[in-house]
Amino acid sequence: MTLVRAGILAALLVAAVCLQVAAFPHVSFDGVVPNLALLLVVAAALVRGPDFAATLGFFAGLAIDLAPPADHVAGRWALALVVVGYVAGRVRQDAGTSAGAAVITVAASSFIGTSLFALSGMLLHDPAVPATEALAVIPVAVVYDVLLTPFVLPLAMRLLRRIEPHRVAY
């Protein structure tokens, strides 16, 4: 059963990453596309909590880092999404899971994720992103992620609940 669950999660990740690079560029805004993998990680954080989300974020980030046409240093998106999963998971415990809170969580996560990725690029000079360009891209990315939230997040959360192992009541 665990293997089946891992398989479904892997398929979801691959679908998110491939749609992100192969389908969404047709509707990109100045090259910015919605970060579906990040939305998946946030959904996991809201349903399952920080540990699970951070782990999923690690693999989702690695998938973005390694899938063509990515050419940056591997591990940078992984780092960003681990933090996103952890933070979103911690916030869930305080914020509850109303629709408004979910949207704010997505906006904050998108901001944190994209900023962390840009910052790690600045530190590693890979490429040395000028701050002005980062500042131009990040708000658009946040808005696009929030716009897609009502379509992606409920679906992803329902799917993740379905494949959640039964928990012992506590």
């Binding site: 389908a23 992984a78 891209v137």
Partner: protein
């Protein structure tokens, strides 16, 4: 704090371990350079996800074409009229430049001798585009080593230079666009034959521009001057004579010795689709190689 939380407190161990794993991967990849241990993993993932991306792009392509179905006959008629007018105008300008062209072709023929003038191209389609959030301008094309594509090959399309291949997997390859910040192309000014280096700015969309640094700093490029690739040894990574773009603005400041020129590339990088990869004419692959012998006349 005495109120019991409905969720178990997360253990810090997991997230700390994951962060350490991230730093390990980053360090391995940064220190390893070109032969880092991540490289085989990257090509393995590329071999698996490449075909999936190709499939996704193939599935999405008809959907993207849907708005085209709703064009009216009138719209198409207008298009035909506009294109005919443009055609007539181009024909006119072609007639006047024919003499110059022939003279140049003769000289070219003398200089080039028996060397073949055209390039051999492997056609490919763009299936995936790196998001702007990654701050890298790279695309995936649906042809790889099985079609004879290898790293450091020139990629161009109808309009001009697109970029160069930086990684080739079996069925897909990654192309670094010339507008990427890490991209440097040797360029030659059409009017004065001066050489220089073109650097990308990493921008996307309509404001994607390149910066030109001329080797001879006393030369000031003129507006609308055309830049072509200067070419390098064995045609890697760029073959010579591919049009790159035209000079849109020149500005000189007292603090700098040379004038700074901004180049607008001919290629529209937001709507890349069919591209050609310059290969050796004898390449044997799983798709036909187009040899464009009459390339000069088409331009």
């Amino acid at each position: 704090m005495s109120v019991p939380s409905p969720h178990p407190r997360p253990s810090r161990t997991v997230v700390v371990l994951l962060l350490l794993a991230c730093f390990t991967v980053i360090t391995l990849d940064v220190r390893g350079g070109d032969d880092s241990p991540v490289e085989p993993l990257r090509s393995a993932v590329g071999s698996v996800l490449g075909p999936v991306e190709r499939g996704t792009a193939a599935a999405v392509r008809p959907v993207v074409a849907v708005p085209g179905f709703f064009r009216t006959t009138k719209g198409l008629r207008d298009d035909v009229a506009r294109l005919e007018a443009e055609n007539a105008r181009l024909r006119g300008s072609l007639a006047t430049t024919d003499i110059d062209r022939n003279r140049a072709a003769e000289l070219d023929g003398l200089l080039a001798g028996a060397r073949s003038t055209g390039y051999a191209l492997v056609p490919a389609r763009v299936v995936a585009m790196g998001p702007a959030q990654t701050f890298t301008r790279a695309v995936t094309i649906d042809a790889g080593t099985s079609s004879g594509i290898a790293p450091d090959m020139t990629v161009l399309n109808n309009d001009g230079l697109v970029g160069r291949v930086i990684r080739a997997d079996r069925t897909t390859a990654t192309v670094l666009l010339i507008v990427d910040q890490e991209s440097v192309v040797g360029g030659r000014l059409g009017s004065t034959m001066e050489i220089g280096y073109l650097r990308g700015r990493g921008q996307h969309g309509d404001d994607a521009k390149l910066d030109l640094d001329l080797v001879d700093q006393s030369v000031t490029p003129a507006r609308n001057d055309v830049l072509v690739t200067w070419g390098s040894r064995n045609g890697a990574p760029y073959v010579a004579g591919v049009p790159i773009g035209k000079v849109t603005s020149v500005r000189s400041s007292p603090s700098q010795l040379s004038a700074q020129a901004t180049i607008e590339p001919y290629v529209d990088f937001t709507s890349l689709d069919l591209v050609g990869v310059v290969v050796d004419p004898d390449t044997r692959g799983d798709r036909p190689v187009i040899t464009a012998g009459k390339q000069e006349e088409q331009r």
